[in-house]
């Protein structure tokens, strides 16, 4: 069972694409820490430095649209992002999130529900986000069991490794 996720909201808009998250010029970098420093650089050059203060991303529609580049999830992992909440996700991006063990949660929201810096607590098992700053609770549709299991294992490769050995 995954414990509750506690963190702070960082707000993004609609159609944030994979080139926004990791610009193409970073893709041949071998050092992921270097790459992670460029996360969202065209949108917010301070994002990577301040990610501890905004470690739950709240986005609009179609988050992660564009390329299949998994770097666009991995940099968030490197920066310690705990979960991504969006109105909707691009297909490949959603798979990549779960595969790398970061919860992707679909919720329709507005400014009265989440704003920058809000302290949030997410319970994946109950399907509830508590906004402790605003004192509101939001329900979401829980992930199918087999996806929750992937998250519990810390990503699909950890799970697969066990099966291959077993």
């Amino acid at each position: 069972m995954i414990e509750k996720i506690d963190g702070f909201a960082y707000i993004l808009g609609d159609d944030i694409n994979t080139d926004d998250i990791v610009p193409s010029h970073t893709l041949t970098m071998r050092d992921v820490d270097e790459m992670a420093k460029c996360t969202l650089e065209f949108i917010d050059p301070t994002f990577a430095k301040n990610s501890a203060q905004g470690n739950i991303i709240i986005a609009g529609d179609n988050f992660g649209t564009g390329s299949s580049r998994e770097e666009a999830v991995y940099v968030f992992k490197v920066l310690g992002i705990k979960a991504i909440i969006a109105k909707s996700f691009a297909r490949i991006y959603f798979r990549n999130l779960i595969n790398l063990g970061i919860p992707g949660i679909i919720v329709s929201w507005n400014e009265s529900i989440f704003s920058k810096g809000d302290n949030l607590e997410i319970s994946l098992n109950e399907g509830v986000i508590t906004n402790k700053t605003k004192g509101v609770k939001i329900e979401f549709e829980k992930l199918p069991n087999f996806l929750t299991k992937i998250l519990e294992e810390g990503g699909i490769l950890n799970q697969l490794k066990k099966t291959l050995k077993g």
């Binding site: 041949t28 580049r69 798979r95």
Partner: protein, 421 residues
């Protein structure tokens, strides 16, 4: 209850007797395509599994295309990592040394690897291109690639299907690119998330294979998982010269269930562009005509084929491009390059003042051979105009058909091809 094309192919690759949209199923993969991503994240992830084999070295298609030949030291190192992996795991279809071949989504079909009824995945979102060949194909990330390398299987959510019924033919100067941009504009970049788009009707049959590939290529810009065409004589003729392998054509049942039906008469489509910085930001050519450009790019897996080069040549023949504009032309594959040479198109391009590059993704991803500087404006036949995609984040990209790109290069500003054809 009947099935759509996507449902039929998914059933055939699972061990289930029936499926329905929304269901999660495991499927056997027929082929997986990988490119530079192999040296990006895939090899690092795969090593974590600590296994010394891949499930089937004969079902992996590996090619380098994005940064070819390597323009930087880091790209060269990435290529080395890719080749090492391909050798270690004894890939049979290993094109890691053959840098002359071209862009993955062009070369793989040309070599007969995408056939009706197959289920193909690739480490690239535009893997959907192969849907033009009546197979199911979609993009996946590095970790999913590792899962397929190890097991040959992948989970899928059975998608709801949209039926797009096409009739009629394009008028002069209008191309498949205008159609798919119009469709994305209508349904929006999130309008088909997780859906399978099926293209039906006489209008679809009227399209060339090249044109179908352009449409299947860009369905992902509307969020779609698959973009698949029905089989017909044109497809079978195309396949004759490409493959000796058996295949089975897949058509939908008469009572197949479509979540949505859209109808388009191709004769009503007119030239459009996607304005910066979103492929769904569609405007009619009238609205953007006259915007000055610094660069025009004709190439990529979306529009670097013979049909595209031919129309550009028709527009450029005997003319010079605007002296303050640069035109870069990159055929999507060597096969196309050589055909264009034989047809005399290259001479037309060079005489007009175009720079013709080797077959690679190049400027499409801002990699090399035409990277944009600050505040430069480019009209491009590619599929994405995201901020910074082709270079500096202040540069602007308008997506358009090859005809619009060529007409604009001639005028030095965005132009309507119908006026110069």
């Amino acid at each position: 209850m009947g099935y759509t094309i996507a449902e039929k192919i998914l059933i055939n690759h699972s061990n289930l007797k029936s499926i329905s949209p929304g269901q999660f199923i495991d499927c056997n993969i027929d082929l997986i395509m990988v490119h530079e991503q192999l040296g990006g994240r895939i090899h690092k992830e795969y090593e974590k599994l600590e296994i010394d084999y891949v499930w089937d070295p004969n079902k992996i298609f590996f090619i380098l295309d994005h940064w070819v030949p390597a323009p930087t030291i880091s790209a060269a190192q990435m290529h080395q990592d890719c080749r090492k992996f391909a050798e270690k795991y004894k890939f049979i279809h290993n094109f890691g040394y053959q840098l002359d071949k071209g862009i993955c989504h062009q070369v793989l079909p040309e070599m007969g690897f995408s056939r009706p009824g197959m289920l193909i995945v690739g480490s690239d979102s535009h893997t959907t291109t192969y849907g033009a060949f009546n197979c199911l194909a979609t993009g996946i990330g590095a970790t999913d690639v590792s899962v397929v390398f190890a097991t040959g299987k992948l989970w899928f959510r059975v998608p709801e299907s949209f039926q797009i019924i096409m009739s009629g033919k394009f008028n002069k100067g209008v191309m498949s690119k205008d159609f798919i941009l119009t469709l994305i504009g209508n349904i929006s970049t999130k309008g088909a998330i997780y859906k399978s788009l099926e293209f039906h009707g006489q209008g679809a049959k009227n399209l060339s294979i090249d044109g179908r590939m352009t449409i299947s290529n860009m369905v992902v810009e509307a969020g779609a998982k698959f973009g698949i065409f029905q089989p017909d004589n044109k497809l079978e003729t195309w396949l004759v010269n490409r493959t000796k392998e058996p295949y089975k054509l897949v058509t939908p049942d008469n009572d197949a269930n479509y979540e949505n039906t859209l109808e388009y008469n191709l004769s009503e489509i007119t030239p459009v562009v996607a304005k910066p910085s979103n492929p769904g930001n569609i405007a009619g050519i009238e609205e953007v005509e006259g915007i000055e450009i610094d660069q025009a790019f004709l190439g990529s897996c979306t529009n670097g084929r013979m049909e595209d080069l031919r129309i550009a040549a028709k527009i450029l023949k005997g003319n010079n491009i605007d002296p303050n504009t640069r035109l870069i032309i990159i055929p999507a594959s060597k096969e196309i390059y050589m055909e264009a040479l034989r047809e005399g198109l290259m001479e037309i391009f060079l005489s007009a003042g175009a720079v013709v590059g080797n077959c690679t993704c190049g400027p499409c991803i801002g990699g090399h051979l035409g990277v944009l500087g600050s505040e430069e404006v480019c009209i491009s036949s590619t599929n994405r105009n995201f901020k910074g995609r082709m270079g500096d984040p202040t540069s602007e990209v308008y997506l358009a058909s090859p005809a619009v790109v060529a007409a604009s290069a001639l005028k030095g500003r965005i132009a309507d091809p119908r006026e110069v054809l």
